[in-house]
């Protein structure tokens, strides 16, 4: 397993995630991995027993995982949300804004580069539910 880049205030889950089909079939699993074409909403009835959702990015240009992450956070999921696969430093900021709080990049990222990427932009234009106040909120206090 690659090193986990962790933004949570507790250690990342060490549980091995199972596929969505396997997860929906077995009631004792609490770590699941979803692939780009899979519907994150299928997990919504079971969120309270999930401790890790791993969202797979086989290629960085397939952006379906961003929507999956937001859908889970919008539904109140507070467990670990891990992006795995082709996670590149220039996508980290967008991924964080969509609710990812840990990463398993297939190629390790330099911590300095990650810090730089996350501090590049001081403000954001849109609300995404990540707790940051968008520019319009700052303008109208």
């Amino acid at each position: 397993m690659p090193d986990i880049l962790n933004f949570r205030d507790r250690a990342p889950s060490e549980e091995a995630s199972v596929s969505l089909d396997a997860f929906l079939d077995q009631s004792n699993a609490n770590a699941v991995k979803i692939e780009p074409g899979e519907d994150a909403r299928l997990l919504l009835p079971m969120l309270d027993r999930i401790s890790l959702v791993e969202v797979s990015f086989p290629v960085f240009g397939d952006g379906r995982g961003y929507s999956a992450a937001r859908i889970l956070r919008e539904a109140g999921y507070t467990g670990e949300l891990r992006g795995s696969g082709e996670i590149l430093v220039d996508q980290i900021n967008f991924l964080r804004r969509c609710g990812f709080d840990s990463f398993a990049p297939q190629t390790p990222l330099s911590p300095a580069a990650v810090d730089r990427a996350l501090s590049q932009f001081s403000e954001v234009y849109q609300a995404t539910g990540d707790g940051r106040s968008p520019v319009w909120a700052l303008r109208h206090g």
Binding site: N93, S122, Y125
Partner: protein, 544 residues
């Protein structure tokens, strides 16, 4: 017009710093071209046949005199002294050096401009009506809504890796000057029965290899739902748009395959959820932006008549000057289509001159049109003659707006890696063939649009007459299309039949226009005659 506040400026400055870092990593070899590609693309930087091409955003086609002067400066300092205005109201530079792009972007940022999201699979620059704010027939100025959408879509974390590029147009008139329904999302501002302003959404239009006219998805989205509703439209696309085939990845294919009703149902369901998340800015934000687009200080005593005693001036007024909502004022279109010139190109000197003229005669504001011309939106009628003389002296006086000489053409095989055929030499040949202004005026409104490949950047599907360049066994071949329109009477052109070589298509064009002249009835435009007669008789004369 809109002015950046400290937040807007800061974000653009930070983007320049980010791109500078990315370019340094590319030049040092830390970033491979494969990984740099999506980053440079989101900054409008393409690797073309001969050099890097940079596309600079001109939000909703509006810019100030100082901004136009900066575009001239960039052409002079970083390129070969000219730029190319595009069908999405942007400008492109064709001879850019990668190592100079960070400085170029810093220069742009100094006048509140950028190249953010002018390419890549993200939401692109939002286009609009070039007559926004001054058109007599609009329900409101559409640009504040476009600006609200610009900010929402800039660095949008969920929608920066869409299946494909995404283009939005916002208009506010029944008359469509922006090809609104040929966009991924077309928005028309309308008033409801209570007199409130809202947005009619059309989703799933586009050109390219599978042209589609966007169906209406919602007849009225209130101002305070605009962002939520847009977000819902985008999320359904991001999740379900096809990613298995680049050529089927635009939203038009999704909407077409699902059907408009099913797409609408999914959007409404997503919207019902998203609306609960408080993502919409308060109406005060739209009001803040609207105030920045406020009415200029019109000279209410400006005389409302024009002395039409000079024939050259009169011809120009008739063709290039449009009605303004304010008495005593006119909207001037500057044609970037001189006979024998490359459509949409302007030299640094011409850009500087247009900036000077905007400062002197048009409240320091200009517009770029989707037909690759420039507009001065606030000209006193009393100043028209002086303005025309100065334009004419600089080669900018062509009186051919919406005539056959006002050709839209993509860069084609002279620059573009995607092209199959050259567009520019053909456009030049046609403009010379139809150079006689009398002949052009006699033909009347005739929108001719040329694309050098099936991707349709030259809007050939929407031309009254369209020309599509293809590669036929290694030889450039040009297909002719008739009957398209990007206006409120939107329609897609149909291919006449087998294609031609370059001279052959010019000859076919002459046969078509000659036939129209013989067949037209009172006041009919080419398009009207075609629609009345249908394709068959035109085919007969083309292939006789």
């Amino acid at each position: 017009m809109y002015q950046y506040d400290k937040f807007d400026q800061q974000l653009v400055d930070e983007r320049v710093a980010e791109f500078r870092d990315q370019v340094e990593r590319r030049l040092s070899g830390e970033l491979s071209e494969e990984h740099f590609r999506p980053l440079r693309l989101m900054n409008g930087l393409y690797l073309q046949l001969h050099a890097y091409m940079l596309r600079v955003a001109i939000p909703y086609g509006t810019l100030s005199g100082p901004q136009m002067r900066m575009l001239a400066h960039i052409a002079r300092k970083y390129d070969r002294d000219y730029g190319h205005f595009t069908t999405r109201q942007n400008i492109q530079y064709n001879w850019i050096k990668l190592e100079e792009t960070p400085d170029l972007l810093a220069d742009l940022a100094s006048v509140e401009m950028h190249a953010i999201q002018t390419s890549g699979n993200c939401i692109r620059n939002i286009s609009s009506d070039q007559f926004a704010g001054v058109a007599a027939d609009e329900v409101a100025d559409p640009r504040p809504w476009a600006e609200l959408l610009r900010q929402w879509s800039s660095f949008h974390p969920e929608f920066s890796f869409l299946p494909r590029k995404f283009k939005i147009a916002v208009i506010a008139s029944e008359q469509d000057r922006a090809a609104m329904r040929l966009h991924d999302i077309g928005i028309q501002l309308v008033r409801n029965e209570a007199g409130e302003l809202g947005a009619k959404f059309f989703v799933g239009g586009g050109m390219g290899r599978t042209p589609m006219i966007a169906p209406e998805i919602r007849d009225f989205v209130p101002a305070d739902d605009l962002i939520s509703y847009s977000e819902a439209c985008m999320r359904v696309y991001n999740r379900y748009g096809r990613r298995d085939n680049k050529y089927k990845a635009r939203i038009k294919i999704l909407v077409h395959e699902l059907g408009a009703d099913e797409y609408r149902r999914q959007v409404e369901e997503e919207f019902a959820h998203i609306k609960t998340l408080n993502l919409d800015p308060p109406l005060a934000e739209l009001e803040r932006i609207t105030a920045l687009f406020g009415e200029p200080a019109y000279d209410t005593a400006a005389p409302d008549d024009i002395d039409l005693s000079h024939p050259g001036f009169t011809a120009w007024v008739k063709q290039n000057v449009s009605a303004h909502k304010q008495a005593g004022y006119a909207i001037v279109s500057i044609s970037l289509k001189p006979v024998g010139g490359i459509p949409g190109d302007a030299t640094s000197a011409q850009m500087d001159l247009m900036a000077d003229l905007a400062e002197r005669y048009s409240m320091d504001e200009l517009r770029v049109t989707h037909s690759q011309n420039i507009v001065l939106p606030y000209v006193r009628k009393a100043d028209l003659f002086d303005l025309w003389q100065q334009l004419d002296a600089a080669g900018l006086g062509s009186a051919n707006i919406d005539l056959i000489g006002d050709i839209i053409a993509c860069p084609g095989l002279d620059y573009c890696t995607l092209a199959n055929a050259r567009s520019i030499p053909l456009a030049l040949k046609i403009s010379e063939k139809f150079a006689d202004p009398e002949k052009q005026r006699d033909l009347g409104e005739l929108k001719l649009k040329i694309s050098g490949c099936i991707n349709a950047c030259g809007h050939h599907h929407a031309g009254h007459i369209g020309i599509l360049g293809v590669d036929r066994k290694g030889v450039e071949n040009y297909q002719l299309l008739l009957g398209g329109s990007g206006a409120e009477d939107v329609s897609l052109g149909k291919i006449t039949g087998p294609g031609f070589d370059e001279d052959g298509v010019v000859a076919a064009l002459e046969r078509v226009t000659d036939f129209y002249r013989k067949q037209r009835q009172d006041g009919e435009r080419f398009l009207d005659t075609y629609r009345r007669l249908g394709m068959e008789p035109f085919k007969e004369v083309i292939y006789a």
